[in-house]
Amino acid sequence: MSTGRREDDRPVDEAVDQAWRAASGEEPGPRLDAAILAAARAEAERVRGVATGRHGKAARPGPPRVRDWWTSWQPLAAVATVAGLAFILVQTIPRERDVAPPITVERAQPEASQAPAAGESRDAEAGPPAFEARRATEGPTSFTPELPAPATARTAPPASAPSSIPAPAPAESSATAPVADTAESVATSPSRNRPAAAAQADVAAETDRALGESQRARKSAEAPRTAEDWAARIEELLQAGDREAAAEELRAFRAVYADADAYLPEGRRDWAATVD
């Protein structure tokens, strides 16, 4: 019998150890051994393959590198996307020619300006040209007031207006009258009974006036809609040397904005004071 302690003070019982080793001798089966060793060999082979590939690429060239589909087409797709966005952007930017009214509408202006002239008050006549022009181009249904409400609507005569005032055509309907109606109205005007030369002269005068109105209307239609834009436009005209056009713009500006002069640069206010 020996004591049950070793050098590291570990309790042992050698009899038990011996008996245990005699009794416990199981080993994993050969199939299990083979499976584990096969896996280990395969892994070792892979490690060697990687090492060989790392150091000896020339000896074992890999398969030709095939570029990914997306990698190949990526630059082209990017270019196409940019081009598409640029096209859309260009299409959405408003241009001046899109804002200008067509000539057919301009020719309708004499009728539009003549008919209300009979029934509209002075306020209506003094209404901002921009408003009138837009009314002529857009018609009553599509008009959305952005500027102060025009006097036309407020001063339109009621149905029970005095009979001394000629029956006015509704401003909206006259403004949207087609060209054929304009011609007809000209033809059926009082000048119809005059001599032909005088009638032609009247028609010519009417036409000139209508053209002038329409040009003003077009300019006004092109006019800026905010006070700042308006002031900038006046400044632009002044810098271009077109003082007359600038004065006209200022008048129109004042018609819409009572404090139009305040929007002008300080250096232009002296000039604005000269514009009546």
Partner: protein, 201 residues
């Protein structure tokens, strides 16, 4: 680094493992030949089922294969190997829902306190004990059965000591408990097995 005494060769386990990490399959074969029996029996004694032991054994060694690149010989290869085996055992028990979880570290396991109460006794004897020489195959089975009745932590300490050949400190480091605790566990396991051995007579 330490050379293993299991196979009697001079080359250390750690050197063989590093050689295998570089792609030397023969090193792994030698390593496996050294440790396959002890690891298998360690798992078998804890599970008492050959099929389960086969599965766990394969898993543990496949982990060794997969982890070869991460292996760093900071500790003995044996310690690392049985750490993997213990973790696999714990995973196995946890995965078996409804089965009794056999803790390898829980000191409150049955009968363990009684062991500590007698930790200071010098009851363990060995050497030319006739019990060891007279044990037969059938008696060996009863000894193995007796170990199955030993609580998990004590059984684990005994197996790591007898099968893996780990020192007290190594077992303590692996189990995460003080060396004195491992010593108590070992005493308890030996006492139980000694009693079983005496019953065989």
């Amino acid at each position: 680094m330490s050379a293993t005494g299991i196979s009697g060769t001079d080359e250390a386990d750690e050197a063989l493992m590093l050689a295998y990490a570089r792609g030397d399959a023969a090193s792994f074969e030698r390593l496996y030949a050294r440790h396959k029996g002890p690891t298998y029996r360690y798992l078998l004694r804890h599970t008492t089922d050959r099929a389960v032991a086969d599965e766990l054994h394969q898993d543990v060694w496949m982990k060794v294969v997969k982890a070869r690149e991460r292996y760093a010989p900071e500790a003995r290869f044996t310690t690392w190997l049985y750490t993997l085996a213990r973790h696999r055992l714990v995973d196995h028990w946890r995965s078996r829902r409804g089965a009794r979880f056999t803790s390898l570290d829980d000191e409150t396991d049955r009968d363990s306190r009684g062991t500590d109460d007698h930790a200071g006794s010098e009851a363990l004897t060995a050497g030319d004990d006739p019990l060891a020489s007279t044990i037969g195959a059938q008696d060996g089975q009863r000894l193995v059965a007796a170990l199955a009745g030993v609580p998990g932590p004590q059984r684990d300490a005994f197996l790591l000591h007898v099968e893996a050949g780990l020192s007290l400190e190594e077992i303590a480091g692996l189990a995460g408990v003080p060396a004195e605790t491992i010593k108590s566990r070992l005493r308890y396991a030996y006492r139980k097995l000694r009693a079983a051995l005496e019953d065989l007579q």
